[in-house]
């Protein structure tokens, strides 16, 4: 049984919800109100994650002796939004506290095609790791500008926007050259990887931090492609897309 400690309006939580949906993994959500209650800084939550950050994923089906095996989950979801009582007991199973670590774990363990995180391909997983770090840069810039505007975080929003535009320019050029090599995803290959999911949320939400994507056409084409991945789901602030026009 997988439990995701989740906040609906969090882009980092959305990364995990996207992969869980695309891999068709059953899980239960435990809502942690990031704003305005700041429940991620509460004592009960810090007992689960001392860093006080979201998301956190707990996989109680994790058994160390079987760690190398991949098997689909059979359990049904427990009641969602069982928010009242905190689980203060030590948690059995695997607890992961970082969105990139969670993506790596879920893809490695539950993706039977091994395409989302091709762990046997050293070059690819190194490139994916580069983009996971790049995604953290987007979180530190575009996401912070969004928190300043929507949730009144006291940060230098102009500096965050300037940094985000630097990163978006780099990403747009990367995608533009990739398209000219007939590549559709951040890491070259036929199928998307967790690199795409790690970068997508705070880019698609960037306008909530007054960061326009008007000057990044290759980014806009790539976000459309992400939205057409089977199993794609939306969150507030993200809109679905129709099917691709056939030429």
């Amino acid at each position: 049984m997988i439990t995701l400690y989740d906040y609906e309006l969090s882009g980092n939580c959305y990364k995990i919800r996207l992969l869980l949906s695309m891999l068709e993994i059953e899980y239960s959500k435990h809502t942690v109100e990031f704003y305005p209650a700041a429940d991620h800084k509460s004592e009960w939550f810090k007992a689960i994650n001392p860093l006080g950050t979201l998301p956190v994923l707990v996989d109680r089906s994790h058994e160390p002796q079987n760690a190398g095996q991949r098997r689909p989950l059979q359990q049904k979801t427990e009641k969602p939004h069982n928010e009242q009582t905190a689980d203060l007991n030590p948690i059995d199973g695997l607890t992961l506290k970082d969105s990139a670590a969670i993506l790596v774990y879920l893809a490695t363990r539950y993706d039977k095609t091994a395409s989302w995180y091709p762990s046997s391909d050293p070059a690819k997983i190194a490139q994916i790791t580069e983009w996971l770090a790049f995604a953290d840069g987007i979180t530190a810039s575009a996401s912070q500008a969004r928190l300043a505007e929507g949730f009144f975080y006291n940060v230098d929003a102009d500096a965050c926007r300037a940094r985000a535009h630097q990163l978006f320019r780099i990403l747009d050029e990367h995608l533009w050259f990739a398209e000219h090599r007939k590549q559709r995803w951040l890491v070259a290959g036929d199928l998307p990887t967790i690199a795409d999911l790690a970068c997508f949320p705070y880019i698609i939400l960037s306008e909530e931090g007054s960061i326009s994507r008007q000057d990044y056409p290759a980014i806009r084409r790539w976000t459309d492609r992400v939205k057409r991945i089977p199993g794609f789901i939306v969150m507030p602030g993200v809109f679905p897309i129709g099917p691709e026009l056939s030429s």
Partner: protein, 308 residues
């Protein structure tokens, strides 16, 4: 870089309020439950404010309640009028010209009163109120919750401006909703009544999934940060014995999160009051009355007034 600077310059347009009606109105600035005894900062009508639970400050001022102290940041010793109502702290930069509107349902003992959230949105206050009044966007923006295709029709409804209380009231509004509230388990034809008792506040009464004889209440209190930026405060007052406050808050935060990009992309950001500026359809009847009502009061803040 240039674009960023232009955007931030626009966002910081100095707009100290010259509109006497808005200047002398009460405005919500924060949820009581979110406000501690340390100093908080916000903006209202283009002016920086500080506020706090008033344990450490002299509150011998003669107006309003004294649980909270609110002042202009530039004049910390001159306390502004404070009124605590409906879960929120209200203040007035001028002299309150009239008491805050009444919302008697808030005091009913079996209601679950929840301050759902306070969210920043780059839009004028009247645009936000008008979006709140609009049922037509439900199936497209709140898909699967407040509406879904093919149930897109906004049926004929009634709107009036009441003589005694000077409010816009829309009645007989009906809409099919897949999940009308946090506690709803199935779709239902929901009946709505809208009140606009304040230029920047609207109250919606809707069929209660738990009790056919009563109405749930959702109120939008818009804090005009300046003419084109707001904090949207939501009060949810429901008859729902089972949903936890957190579930109610998350439901409303999802709805606000879906509205935010729609509102931020509306141009012009100020609401045009000239009836020819934007073409209404039948479903926009409440918006037509709302704009007319703002015009009659001479509102100029956050709107583009109609040419005389």
């Amino acid at each position: 870089m240039l674009r960023v600077q232009i955007a931030s310059t626009m966002a910081m347009t100095e707009t100290t309020c010259k509109d006497p009606v808005i200047h002398n109105h009460w405005h919500a600035i924060a949820a009581i439950e979110d406000t501690g005894s340390h100093v908080h900062h916000t903006r209202l009508l283009g002016e920086d404010l500080t506020y706090q639970a008033s344990t450490a400050r002299d509150t011998s001022d003669s107006t309003g309640d004294h649980e909270f102290a609110v002042s202009r940041t530039a004049a910390p010793d001159k306390l502004l009028p404070v009124h605590c109502a409906y879960g929120y702290i209200w203040t007035c930069l001028g002299t309150p010209a009239q008491p805050l509107f009444t919302l008697p349902e808030y005091a009913e003992s079996d209601r679950n009163n929840v301050c759902a959230c306070s969210v920043g949105v780059r839009v004028s206050a009247p645009r936000a109120v008008e979006n709140f009044l609009d049922m037509g966007h439900f199936p497209y923006v709140h898909t699967g919750i407040l509406g879904e295709q093919p149930h897109t029709e906004v049926r004929e409804y009634d709107v009036e401006i009441t003589e005694d209380s000077n409010e816009v009231i829309a009645t007989r509004c009906r809409f099919y909703q897949p999940q009308a509230a946090a506690g709803a388990n199935e779709g239902m034809l929901v009946e709505y009544v809208y009140r606009v008792p304040h230029p920047y506040c609207s109250i919606l009464y809707k069929s209660c999934p738990d009790d056919e004889s009563r109405m749930d209440v959702i109120a939008l209190f818009v804090q005009p940060v300046d003419e084109i930026n707001i904090r949207a405060h939501a009060l949810v007052s429901v008859i729902d014995a089972t949903s936890a406050p957190l579930a109610i808050r998350m439901f409303q935060q999802t709805i606000f999160g879906q509205d935010k990009p729609i509102l931020e992309n509306q141009l012009p950001k100020k609401l045009p009051l000239d009836p020819r500026a934007e073409t209404p359809i039948r479903a926009d009847k409440s918006a037509v009355f709302y704009r007319r009502w703002l015009s009659r009061q001479g509102i100029s803040y956050g709107v583009i007034p109609a040419a005389a």
